[in-house]
Amino acid sequence: MKEQKSKTLRGFLFGAGFVAIAAFLFTGCPSQQGMMDTREAAQKVYVAPGEHDEYYGFFSGGYSGQLSVWGLPSSRLLKVIPVFSQDPESGYGYSEETKPLFETSYGFIPWDDSHHPHISQTDGDADGRWIFINANNTPRIARIDLKTFETKEILELPNTGGNHASSFVTSNTEYVIGGTRFSIPYEADLDVPIDSYSDEFRGALSFVAVDQETGMMDLDFQIVVPPYNYDLGRAGKGPSADWVFFTTYNTEEAHTMLEVNASRYDKDFIAAVNWRKAAELVEQGHGRTVSAEYYHNYYEGNQGYAINDIKDQVTILDTREIDENFIYYLPTPKSPHGVDVDPTGEYIVGGGKLATVIPVHSFSRMLEAIDNNEVEEVIDGIPVLNYDATIAGEVENPGLGPLHTEFDGRGYAYTSVYISSEIVKWSLETFEVVDRIDAYYSIGHLMITGGDTKNPDARYMVGLTKTAKDRYLPTGPKQNHPAQLYDISGDRMELLLDFPTIGEPHYAQAIRADKIVDQVAQIYEMEENDHPDALLRIADNRVERDGNTVHVYMGSTRSHFRPDNIEGIRVGDTVYIHLTNLEQEWDVVHGIAVKGANNAEILVAPGQTKTLKWEPTRTGIYPFYCTAFCSALHQEMQGYIRVSAEDSDVELAWRTGTD
């Protein structure tokens, strides 16, 4: 009895201890975490079932190559839009329609590394027409239509190694920019020793013009610049709207062990490019046309096969050849990474990742310095302005490794700081830090709703961090990348939520949902289906042979295919199944998969036509079925294809519903 009691007591004490520890774990260090009362935080992110979020968040996929869409503040994943990587879930990059999007001057590339989504702008505000995103590895820019949330176009950038300083738009989406992170020999395929770096290698800054009606991209010109690493870029706004600012590092021109060799100088540069003047120079014939092979992939109509428009030349402006100044270097400490422009367009903030301060340049002072010719030296025709002449202030004590800055439109800037893993809030008036908050862990970019525009809608901030470690239930040695949602509507930043993401989000953007919601398509209207192989008349469903190529024109609706019995296919045939989803109701999707097809399934949205390529190698009966659970009789949505020997004389036949 006595022993029993002591056990109970021990249990009680243990329990109390556990509660205390748990209480400490969950509520501990509130000031450090900046976590508001849990209930209050939960209320701020709670979006009731069936209700919608206030913001769309678009997070880059990083090494997934895609773009994920989130509802904010609930931080629910809405969709992953496939962009640069094949997506077996939807058949993107597997269907005949989408495969051409992946063609490049290097052939078919099924993957890339997507970093910086940027929503199209009108007068410095996000307008929700399109979102652009860059491919870093094999340099490209993609355009995603925000009516259908689909990738519509991919443009390759020639003469570029690592399109990192991309895909930011100017304030009326006149241009979307590209920039070479790794300078390479400008002339294509030039076979030279790597240590000829300073002589043979050049940087390229790309200016891609955007058609305001269609969104179609066109590489207008490239600026050829000294062989540094062009890291990030941002367009100005308001008074600075005619300018784009690029950060550089490796002004040391190192080509090996950059970790050490590109970190020697105290200052690198922000390149300030007057794009309007550059465009005028090109228009006036000051550019030079050089040969360059690159692919422009897009759809011609509403639907159909993406086409490959292979380009063979590009117009360049080489700063060594042009007398007029349209680009200036602003010395900036030290290997700057991010470059961000405040809502007024006056302040240009550099993220000197090895610097002890955050340098803030003044646009108006820069113009004065240009007028007063405060030039320290000229590099390949580019004037280097005096640091003291352009600097507006230095934010002291920003933490270790400041990277990227966004703004709240209320006079404050928020900078992500990588090494000390925090976000610092500082005043654009006093350049003093006023608040700081931890990030979990090692933050890269941060994003404020509308925080890069003229009119930030600054209620929330998302920090995109690089390692999760212990933040969630463990899932093995590699964890998904985290993001944190902060409330920045008050004086102090407050952590609301911490959630895992898709791929490795670098940058993200958010836009008020009401700017997009009404334009989002619910179906592809059958009347507007201009796919050359669409089944527009149901009675026209058929199978046609042309030599060893067979085309199946098939329709689907709940819950059958037409035709669903096909005979007369032979081993050695290449079969194209063109499936038109004849449904006209929102979100009623059909898919198709064929046994043994060396391909993914193909999902087809209502009113859409998609094509599955199949090359049967063995005789037999091949079932095919609808991969999307479409109705109560979904399991019945199937068919059979008979494959006969190569020399068989089985006649081509197809039927539906006539047993």
Binding site: I523, M526, R537, L582, E583, S631, A632
Partner: protein, 159 residues
């Protein structure tokens, strides 16, 4: 006793039934409360001519409008023929004789509001039981539904 043990099993269907009905109630309550309703809770018009955007008799010329017939046929061939034959049952009922036992307004309302019709109209409920598949909305506009009626009228006259 034996009945009691089925109660737990009965609760779910009853709850489901209730919730399905609850969904429909919004549409119903929008209608004018003053109108007289029949046993099924529908107005005489609805019972005869269906529930949907067509709420009064439409004027139909005795003469067939061939231009409208062509328009209607094209829509039928693009959006209806997956499930309906003119002669003989397919996924849904044959359409060749539909104008013999349904009013033009009824056909239009079925095309324009198929989920409402199968949920709330006794004929729609009966058809769903018989054919087991609910008819989907095919993004047909009201004037297009009218054209389909003309196509069906023309077919009936010629066959």
């Amino acid at each position: 006793m034996t009945f009691l043990k089925y109660i737990p099993k009965l609760i779910l269907p009853i709850v489901l039934l209730f919730s399905l009905q609850a969904c429909g109630e919004d549409d119903r309550s929008q209608r004018d409360d003053q109108e007289e309703t029949t046993e099924a809770g529908l107005t005489e018009f609805e019972l005869e001519h269906g529930i949907g955007p067509v709420t009064e008799r439409i004027e139909i010329d005795d003469e067939i409008d061939q231009e409208l017939v062509t328009k209607g046929r094209n829509i039928y061939e693009m959006k209806c023929e997956m499930c309906h034959n003119m002669e003989g049952r397919m996924v849904g009922p044959q359409l060749g004789d539909v104008m013999e036992h349904r009013s033009p307004e009824f056909v239009m309302n079925f095309i324009l509001n198929p989920s409402g019709m199968t949920r709330e109209h006794p004929v729609g409920q009966e058809l769903l039981q018989e054919y087991m598949t609910s008819m989907p909305f095919q993004n047909v506009k009201e004037d297009e539904a009218r054209a389909i009626v003309e196509f069906l009228r023309d077919y009936k006259r010629n066959n």
